[in-house]
Symmetry: C2
Subunit: 119 residues, 2 copies
């Protein structure tokens, strides 16, 4: 298997066959970047707190999220905008209240790891 791209084929390797295994394990670069972006969304304590609250409590209004997390309204709004743009959460308008919920199954799976570790 010649999995090593041409631009790196000339380099020395220690365990040549393992390099091919590693390249196969890494997979498509776009796939890696997509997951890195996903992790990046969870890498902020504020956003992570918001998502943990939404994951276990269900649809929540922006003001309530602000009180629950101790953040101020603009910070929550900003965080939710990012998450909404990434397709992680979705907001439903009900009068002048907007309630958010998580719509991304993969993110929900990751949040499960945190919650399970809480004990």
């Amino acid at each position: 298997m010649h999995l090593v791209p041409a631009d790196r084929a000339g380099r020395r390797t220690i365990d040549g066959h393992r390099v091919c295994d590693a390249i196969e394990a890494i997979g498509d670069a776009g796939h890696v970047r997509a997951w890195a972006d996903r992790f990046s969304l969870l890498a902020d304590p504020g956003r992570l707190a918001l998502l943990l609250a939404l994951d276990r409590t269900g649809p929540l209004a922006v003001s309530d999220l602000a009180v629950a997390t101790g953040m101020n309204d603009p910070a929550v709004s900003q965080a939710l905008r990012l998450l909404r743009a990434a397709g992680v959460v979705e907001g439903r308008k009900d009068g002048r209240v907007v309630r958010y919920r998580i719509v991304d199954a993969r993110v929900r799976g990751l949040l499960g790891h945190c919650a399970a570790d809480a004990g």
Copy 2:
């Protein structure tokens, strides 16, 4: 249950009872921060590629990781230093070669989500 801290108790809420549920779901602030830091380590495409390679291929030398990921040696070394400081990977010296492997079970669990999604 009066789970709302005193400094936020005066704020208006939309669904008061849900705020308490949310606070309970979020849990300890240190716990949230710890997980955010963990996610932060996986939020870089370079580090994520390294970890995916190590997770499925086993102990790998720095040079081989550099070839497999397309990064240059200092970048790989820097990334591994971060991961080692966080207790995620561990390096074993064998002659002048250092082979790294993953030693953090929680990170390994998260990597499983990426790998499972690869198909």
